[in-house]
Amino acid sequence: MRASADVVIIGAGVTGAALAYTLAKRGIRDVLVLERRFPCAGATGRCGGGIRQQFTSESNIRLAMGSVRIYEGLSEELDYDIEYVQGGYLMLAETEQELELQRKAVALQNELGLPSRALSPEEVPEIVPLFDTSTIAGATFCPTDGHANPFRVVEGYLRAAKGLGVKLQKFTEVTDLTVRGGRVTEVVTSRGKVAAGVVVNAAGAWSKRIAAMAGVELPNQPVRHEILATEPVQPITDVMVVSLHTGIYFSQTVQGQIVGGIGDPAERPGYNIRSSFRFLRRFLSELVRHIPALGQLAVLRQWAGLYDVTPDAQPILGPTPGLENFIQANGYSGHGFMIAPKVAELLADYIERGEVSEDLRRLSLSRFEGELKGEAFVVG
């Protein structure tokens, strides 16, 4: 392993991969990505692949809109097909109260330039055929939301990054961080030590452990989220369907499989990622309630991953107070894949020229010292 790097990124999920590429594109090429297992082994490779802009917090809406602009041209930019489908996100409302909350969010989203809109139940089968309209009070829809293949996004970013000189070291676990004079100066790994100019903590649900190695306490907690894939069937819809009421989400991949999950209020924080029978029943019962015809499919496989959840369900981004070269890029609370491309640009702005944008300031670790205003639209 090399003895030093200008930038050491811990974690080869979508955040680390996008940042490595974005830095290299700007000429910062002495970048080393350290990965405990292999790219996409963590949350990115286990996620549903959704790219949503319909949020309630201004930062999340702006970050997601910025990311969509990048995702729209990413296959071409990376010369690698990321299986991007811009089919929109349908957010179901099952009660008048939820519908009202979603309409208010649409008003804010429209102010920020997002083309989201309210739909009546009768309009839903036009974009999601076979949908049982009696299950909802209404919905909101944003046609520029979508989904992509997480494996291919990370693969595309890493291939392009390596082509520009970035090094990836897989099966290399970070075991300690050396702090001297208000900086993280060295990363200690299972394969040796690396002197580092900048260290980025993009370790997802393990970020809390990485931060602790430098004496930094993150408020993040790992929470299991389960997901499954059905057998592939003919194309039914390009739309990603989500519900705040039950926390269900699902879409159809380019290969034809229905992939989706559902949040579980009974889930307690921890590193357990085993699959459960309880999830199969909860998810499939909700899926078939909304689209009865899907009851005829077969389940192929189920798995789970870890959300890295913060107290306000928003990420922790940017320099660490007191350790300016230790950069946090974690705490995505289930939304990392959606906003990674834009976050990579903001973090690159800081690494390249010390620029702290408004969103980085707002999402800094130091916000937990004050009063919090959280994200209300957390699904799954």
Binding site: T230, R281, A298, V299, L300, R301
Partner: protein, 91 residues
Amino acid sequence: MDDPIVCRCEEVTLSQVIQAVEEGYDTLEELKRHLRVGMGPCQGRTCLPLVARILAEKTGRPLSEVMGEISVRPPLAPAPVELFLGGEGEG
């Protein structure tokens, strides 16, 4: 056919597998994510033993070690959705 298909569900050929191993995708989990081998309707019943053998040969690692690295994804064989519907219960 000069280039036999190894994974029928996802149409992956022998040369694609060999090339991927040579590019550094040297565990079954990485090959699965990269090529989608084992992710189709058969869930790897046909292709995974073949891919594992190619990987073991190319890397010089024992077959048991290569196979031991694959993670288990229930329900192992396609199971009808309707089996899981209805009823209360915490399962």
